[in-house]
Amino acid sequence: MHIELQGIRKSFGRTRALWDFDLSVPPASVIALVGENGAGKSTLLRMMAGICVPDGGYLTYDSVIFDREQMDLRKRLHFIPDMPLLFPDYTVARNISTFAALYGKDFAGREEEFSDALRETGCAPLMKRTAGQLSRGQMWKVGLACVAAIGPELLLADEPFASGMDEMGMGAFRRLALRLVGGGSTVIYTTQMVGMAVDFSDYVCVIRDGRKAMLADSASLREYLKREPQGAEHILRGHLPAL
């Protein structure tokens, strides 16, 4: 999926959440959106999921201007908020099958792949539990199992590394993201942890005061962080390196 953002603007009252934001997302890659609290990362993800709309500028998927009511486009992407939304009264199994049905996906021919995902996320023992009883980390794991069932072309994840998941869950997220990317999908996630973003992404996009401050490949940023011990803070504060 070719994702293009041009001159995106979004204000909430007098607060500018995003301002003249341009981004061309390289296909089949993992992109980390990095920024301080309130930089506009989550607003950008919500906009890409169609929940909020830009005041100005364009967001296009495969050169088509996106709005949430276009189901052919909407079914190609999936959004996991910082607290994954599940049907609280349904069991985990019912939740996953409901998500798959809503995205028009079935499990035929994907049993092995999906079993791996269940094993990796540790969701298998939770299958008969009601989603409303799960802890935050467990809900994230179920959210990841839903992603595995859906197999979206674009995965938008809000703060997966601050999700309350244990190391197994975060490992499952990484493997799932890489598997999606391997299949030609794009994964965009937000984080405030620069080191984590550099370690696990192909590109890092730094957002500062609602503007794109930098888009760099992880390899060069990794080099910078090795050279500069305070590099992560510098990046967040806007003292950007010349790469």
Partner: protein, 574 residues
């Protein structure tokens, strides 16, 4: 008991007052008093209805016994309200950690909760007892004023004590609350039948007297009755005083007795009927094994519920493209059992009215009887058959995304149009069933009451109301979406236009309804009156159709605005 130091609080307020500036503190508002007035008003019609019902059927001798029974039932309903408050306060403290998060002992926390419960309940207890005491005595008579005051105090105390005694595990095991409820339900059912048919159902006065004597004895099961006039001097005093003492003693030891449940909230809530599952089930749900993977893989895709004939009809009417959405958001409500129960009720109502003698309670109460005979089934049909609430309300459940709640369905690939289609189909099926049941029912009812012109009118009116209900669905959905949308700048004219569009829709419905009612009556009258039907029929149809078109236009405008990215999804309700 207070956790804080009042002097510190005063000092804090003194400092804050200095800092608050010339405008001072914000005013607390009238919410508390408005709530209080609302509660008091809610009670008034109940008592009035009960009194009217008794007066309509019985002579003065029976009135005393039956009115007392109804007063007792009302007071026991007040106890039920109090039980809900106890459960809610306990839930707040235990579940949400309000008090558990403070460095205080569990017993101190429960003492605080008890204080909150009692403070919240004393006013409803007094307010509920006041009209009953007024009804039982005549405070306007100076000679009876002390009796009135004593009854008021005793009633409030006994209601309060009952709430305290219910907390006893023994009372819970004896199922005393259930016994009270069932006795109350049976008595109410008896009163309704008596009210409708009066002396004609139980003709021999001896049988009636025996029945009244039985009710008089049964009433002793309700504690408030012990302090009613005529009872307190006939053996009611000792049980009443003992009950009040026991209740207050139980309130005193409540923190200690409730403490073992402080970290086990499900146990105590079970006593109030709030817990569907046992604690063990909730805390240690059945663990599944990795084998469950195969269960999910072999699970069919989610389908709308199809456990009854109404559900099957609804499922059959839903287009294939919307089945998954219906499966996700159509709650497993008991459409079929509701429809069956309503049909059963209709049959019983007709049988009773058909085989019983025509109600003739006297001229002065005739209107009331006719009103009840028609209003009760209308109410039952509306509640049992029509989808008053949005059948897909879960789709609009606000869910937090970051700090911003959004309707659940917006995070999923579900188009708004799909929600409209589903709501539309569900409404159509349920309305058609409602019309199919209600039309013959009311026609038969009109026949029993020998009102042929009304019967003829019903044939036209009920389907018209059904059609109007179906046509209004798009406007209702647009209206329901309103709290979930945040308008962007520059669309004020559009908002104004759509808001104003609702006014003509309302007018069209009203004009159409008036024309429809007029049409139905002229149709029934026949003769010269029938000629007006030629004017009224097109008027009614035109209003109905125009209203439907405008309702749909309203939705389409909203949908187009969404497509043009004029709104953000943001629920106002968290």
């Amino acid at each position: 008991m207070k956790l804080h130091d009042p002097d510190t609080e005063k000092e804090l307020i003194r400092i804050a007052r200095r800092l608050a500036g010339p405008t001072g503190f914000q005013k607390p508002g009238f919410a508390f008093w408005i709530d209080l007035i609302w509660r008091a008003l809610a009670f008034a019609p109940l008592i009035w209805l009960a009194a009217m019902a008794i007066a309509a059927t019985y002579g003065n001798d029976s009135l005393i016994i039956l009115s007392q029974a109804i007063c007792a039932i009302l007071l026991m309903a007040l106890v039920r309200v109090g039980m809900g408050q106890v459960a809610m306060s306990f839930k707040t403290a235990c579940f949400f950690g309000t008090l558990a998060n403070l460095p205080i002992t569990g017993r101190t926390a429960l003492t605080l909760i008890r204080g909150i419960i009692l403070r919240r309940f004393w006013l409803p207890a007094m307010l509920g007892s006041l009209p009953i005491a007024i009804y039982l005595h005549n405070p306007g008579d100076p000679g009876r004023f002390p009796e009135f005051l004593a009854t008021l105090g005793l009633l409030a105390a006994i209601v309060w004590a009952t709430l305290g005694i219910i907390q006893f595990p023994l009372v819970h095991r004896l199922r005393l609350v259930k016994i009270w409820h069932w006795v109350a339900y049976i008595l109410i059912a008896y009163f309704v039948v008596m009210y409708l048919f009066g002396a004609r159902l139980v003709t021999p006065s001896a049988s009636r007297e025996a029945m009244e004597s039985l009710i008089d004895r049964i009433m002793w099961i309700f504690p408030p009755v012990w302090v009613f006039p005529g009872k307190i001097g006939n053996g009611g005093l000792i049980p009443a005083v003992s009950w009040i003492a026991l209740g207050f003693w139980n309130w005193l030891r409540w923190p200690a007795s409730a403490f073992p449940n402080y970290d086990r909230p499900y146990d105590i809530l079970g006593a109030f009927g709030d817990a569907g599952k046992s604690r063990d089930e909730m805390i240690e749900p059945e663990e599944s094994t990795p084998l469950e993977q195969t269960i999910i893989l072999s699970d069919p895709p989610t389908r709308p519920p199809s456990n009854g004939w109404v559900e099957r009809l609804i499922a059959a009417s839903i287009p294939a493209a919307d089945l998954a959405t219906a499966g996700a958001f159509m709650p497993e409500t008991k459409h079929t059992s509701r429809a069956n129960q309503t049909m059963f009720f209709a049959a019983v109502w007709l049988l009773v009215l058909g085989f019983g003698k025509t109600p003739n309670p006297g001229e002065q109460y005739r209107d009331l009887v006719v009103f009840v005979t028609w209003a009760v089934p209308s109410f039952v049909f509306i509640i049992g058959l029509l989808s008053i609430l949005n059948p897909l309300k879960d789709a609009l459940r606000p869910c937090p995304v970051g700090n911003t709640p959004v309707p659940f369905f917006t995070t999923l690939p579900i188009p708004l149009r799909s929600l409209l289609r589903l709501t539309f189909r569900i409404t159509i099926v349920r309305t058609v069933i409602a019309v199919a049941i209600a039309t013959p029912f009311f026609c038969i009812l009109a026949k029993i009451h020998q009102l042929p012109e009304v019967g003829a009118g019903i044939v036209a009116m009920i389907p018209a109301i059904g059609a109007a209900w179906i046509f209004s669905v798009p406007a209702l959905i647009s209206n329901r979406l309103d709290p979930h949308l945040r308008r962007r700048k520059g669309i004020f004219p559009l908002i104004l236009a759509t808001s104003l569009a609702q006014v003509p829709i309302g007018f069209l419905w009203i004009i159409g309804s008036i024309a429809g009612i007029g049409l139905s009556f002229t149709w029934g009258m026949g003769g010269t009156a029938g000629q007006y039907a030629f004017l009224l029929l097109p008027a009614a149809i035109a209003c109905l159709v125009l209203g439907g078109i405008m309702s749909r236009l309203l939705f389409e405008t909203l949908h187009l605005s969404l497509r043009q990215r004029r709104y953000d999804w943001k629920s106002k309700i968290r």
